[in-house]
Point group: C2
Chain length 366, copies 2
């Protein structure tokens, strides 16, 4: 432990709640588990409400006259018609169309954006581009620490705290709410398959106070501490940057075609390469796999996937046993000739056993 | 555990050696401790030789006609007279002269450089700049995994493996050696206060074979598995990016004046700001502190430092009890009026006790 791996405003609270492990995202602690099994946590998340310290979703704040220009330069998704108050899931790609991140973009006003990032230093990418292109922007990481409220009872809990306006919010919209005398962003969003909200909390010192406030009101909704749940995430087909895809992959391989439409007339980094890839077609894509065998715990290392005639056709990078589907499920990058839904495949498990699987669409059907 | 936090070619070997914890640097595992105390490890490192998996020191490889131009653009340190085969410690700064990284630069030839980085995505910074400036460079992270051999017996061990040429190498020089039929970089360098070498090993699959080779020859030199040792590092005054300094700090605050000389006539990012800071002088600098009280274990959170008249004057970001000096020692960013060697200060320890300390120069005298 050192300052290099940063604490969050809520770290003390998650420790009080019995966190049993952390991982590191964006040089910051992300709780990985509490004193309950992934299964128990999954069922709780399906039925009640949870509070997640996702402060590691750091914001890259871009302001100034050229801010919209720079943001647009960074993504194939058009932001021309994006309104203030909207959240956009955007691929950020490099000159080879390789994925640099898959963040949520928030438009705070015409010249103020937050890029709420997965695990890579997008701030350095944006600053490098801005300096090289001599743009008039100011790029910083603000003191904003997202706290997620996830689960079917999230709306009721959030309404009890912040009023009826919460109910009027659509998915991937945000509004401003006053918390402790300060205007704060609350979005209807979250890294789960459930309803939920993310409070983009500004104010390190009052983090514990906010947690306490939510925790207290949450008791009548059976609130529990939590973190992104692997079963729920895989069922939803939510990808994890650095794990399910990397800079080696382009957005078309990651099923992000709809954010790379030919209708985008705007210029962006990687456009020429991406158009070429689009014309030629990709050779692999992320698919679901349903597979048999012993209950999969997780994928510390990717599980290799073979065709029935023993050709290596891909790998499962996120895998787990789904207690709802009563089967193992996984996210996998699969070669073209084998990616059709229903294709039978062979998986080599962590203990080197061979087991049967079937290509599935994403998200996994409920 | 997932692919997002990457294993190294040596992870299996460090596990076999009884690693008891990992940290994460550059999205990769770095062993943090083995089955021995920091003290035991420290004394071993002073007397024998250790093998460290420092694969997380990722290389940002910059090649192509504009590679030297780009590298020079990224640092105030002049590389004009840098020869092939040299290692340079360089500050990399942004437009505000804020530290982005403090890597080791290796010049492989006139148009091929490796930037061996501390914990931030310098690759994204370099690529952003290159695209923005429209430079003719190719920037990649090669499959190179540094393995450090550190300690006073490192020269003998390395000579037994790679021949007498090892002895002829000066500190911060590298040479090419054939390992398993491939030309490999070996530098005389390392993140310790001792003599040592770093093998920039190219070839993930043969990592365990290399470890085994060194381990076998190492037995007659009392080899032990290890990792950067906190006592040794602090005694040496070696800084840790993200911990002892961040993007909030400029290189002059980090005692890197000698890499920011006015004699540098070259252009680099942050030059105007850095020159201004140099003219005005900085208000804080990294200093050593020797302090009394209970034996300091480490600094999960920085320890606040006060003047004797109770003004907050800085914080200790790396601290530990030195069994050699028989005192606690720390690295701290200290305000101008108090940074003179010998100044008496007060430290608030992790358990909120006040204890006395004295400002010291760096490195700590042996």
């Amino acid at each position: 432990m050192s300052r290099r791996i940063r604490h969050t405003p809520f770290t003390k609270k998650v420790e009080e709640c019995g966190v049993t492990g952390f991982t590191v995202v964006n040089h910051m602690l992300l709780p990985k588990a509490f004193k309950k099994s992934v299964d128990e946590d999954y069922w709780h998340l399906q039925s009640h409400v949870q509070i997640w310290d996702v402060s590691c979703q750091r914001q890259v704040q871009i302001t100034g006259p050229d801010s919209e220009y720079l943001v647009q330069k960074m993504t194939p998704r058009s932001i021309k018609n994006m309104s203030t108050g909207k959240c956009f899931y955007i691929p950020i790609i490099d000159e080879n169309a390789g994925m640099i991140n898959d963040p949520i973009l928030l438009k705070l006003d015409n010249s103020k954006f937050w890029i709420s990032i997965a695990d890579s230093d997008v701030l350095l990418w944006a600053k490098g581009l801005a300096i090289g292109l001599d743009l008039n922007v100011f790029i910083e990481e603000p003191e904003v620490y997202p706290l997620a409220i996830q689960g079917p009872k999230a709306e009721d809990l959030m309404t009890s705290l912040f009023g009826e306006e919460i109910r009027s919010m659509n998915f991937f919209e945000f509004k401003m709410f006053e918390i402790f005398g300060k205007e704060q962003v609350i979005a209807r969003s979250g890294y789960s398959n459930q309803d939920g909200f993310e409070i983009y909390f500004n104010g390190f010192l009052e983090g514990e106070k906010l947690w306490q406030l939510i925790w207290k009101s949450g008791s009548s909704f059976n609130i529990s501490p939590g973190c992104p749940n692997l079963i729920d995430r895989i069922e939803a087909g939510l990808l994890s940057y650095g794990n399910d895809f990397t800079r080696e992959n382009n957005p078309l391989e990651c099923n992000l075609e709809k954010y790379c439409t030919n209708a985008s007339p705007h210029d962006f980094i990687g456009k020429i390469t991406l158009e070429k890839i689009k014309t030629e077609g990709v050779n692999q894509k992320i698919r679901g796999i349903v597979f048999s065998g012993d209950a999969c715990q997780s994928c510390a290392k990717p599980l290799l996937v073979y065709s029935t005639n023993n050709i290596k056709i891909g790998q499962i990078t996120s895998g787990i046993y789904s207690p709802r589907l009563k089967k193992n499920i996984g996210l996998s990058m699969i070669k073209k000739d084998y990616w059709n839904v229903g294709t039978e495949v062979i998986i080599k498990t962590a203990d080197n056993k061979l087991t049967k699987g079937t290509i599935s669409s994403l998200p996994f059907s409920k």
